[in-house]
């Protein structure tokens, strides 16, 4: 690996981390979700500074090139993350449905109550008028 390339890798991973930290700083995301990105960005910095972390396991498994190992691992992590997000997404949609339905049904029930009250009220008024006659 050329020196220039390594410097680019280190700079890129540092900037990624900085970007993530900035977003967390201004409370753009919840800490629960921030933790994953913090760990991942640290991992990137670590790998860019110490590439042996990649070359050793590459040799152990007997892969051709370290870059293949990096691709394999990162793609796998992102795949799992994408799937987990699909689960979270589905659960959110389910909750959103439950909320909208509850609001709409409550509103209908309230309206029913209101019309019943209004009818009762007008009937009472009529009866009062009748009595007055």
């Amino acid at each position: 690996m050329s020196l220039a390339f390594r410097i680019i890798l280190i700079l890129a991973s540092l900037m990624t981390t900085l970007y993530i930290v900035r977003k967390i700083r201004y409370s753009k995301l919840q800490i629960e979700y921030a933790i994953f990105w913090i760990i991942l960005s640290f991992l990137l910095i670590l790998i860019s500074i110490f590439p042996v972390l990649v070359t050793i396991p590459t040799n152990i498994i007997g892969m051709q090139a370290p870059v293949n190992f990096v691709f394999l691992v990162i793609i796998f992590i992102l795949l799992i993350k994408a799937f987990m997000q699909t689960i979270e997404h589905s659960q959110l949609e389910d909750k959103l449905n439950a909320l909208a339905q509850k609001m709409a049904i409550d509103e209908k029930l309230n309206r029913e109550k209101q019309t019943r009250y209004d009818t009762d009220y007008s009937i009472q008024n009529h009866m009062k008028k009748d009595k007055g006659k």
Binding site: V21, I24, R25, Y26, S27, I31, A34, I35, I38, L99
Partner: protein, 228 residues
Amino acid sequence: MKKLIIIPAYNEEMNIVRVVEEIKKDYSQYDYVVVNDGSKDNTALVCLEHGFELINLPVNLGLAGAFQTGLKYAYIKGYDYAIQFDADGQHKTEYIDKILMEIEKGYDIVIGSRFVSKKKPLSLRMLGSNMISLAMKLTTGKAIKDPTSGMRMLNKEMIQEFALNMNYGPEPDTISYLIKQGATISEVQVEMDERQEGESYLNFSRSMLYMLRMLISILFIQSFRKRK
């Protein structure tokens, strides 16, 4: 001074009546509200049958969301103090007054702590508690003896801050963040019971994840968070 006891409840139909009846009987000078966090059992129904003060969430938000609901209610109704009180019977009512007396001295947050004057027992859970304490000591310089205690009272400013912002869960990392921002915090010795009915939410793997989340959050994330 208006004081509110917030009781977040998730699947607590077995415990909720005992806890609330005790508060109604002996601590009627406090208002209380049960926040049912979308329970799968009959927690809401039991509360309605007994005529308890109830905020009934239609979906499950988790402890942070449920507690925040109670705080929003406290904020809207202008309460001066609000305390989190567990629905499972672990928290004892006789310490509420003691905590109130402490917060009236002018603290922002007072924690009902198990280990002010008593030593921590040696167990895996307490090892976790010690690690969180150490992380807080390292980042804030202040030692909180029982950071994971759920029995915390907030004053009016804290009620507003917790009610209106993101990332203000009732957890040690929020406390750590607030200490750094200059909030004053005190601890009061209390005792807690083992939970009486139902199951604890924290099993082993969840506890490990919780620890990891807390440590990364306290040691790293809270140090660059910006206060609005």
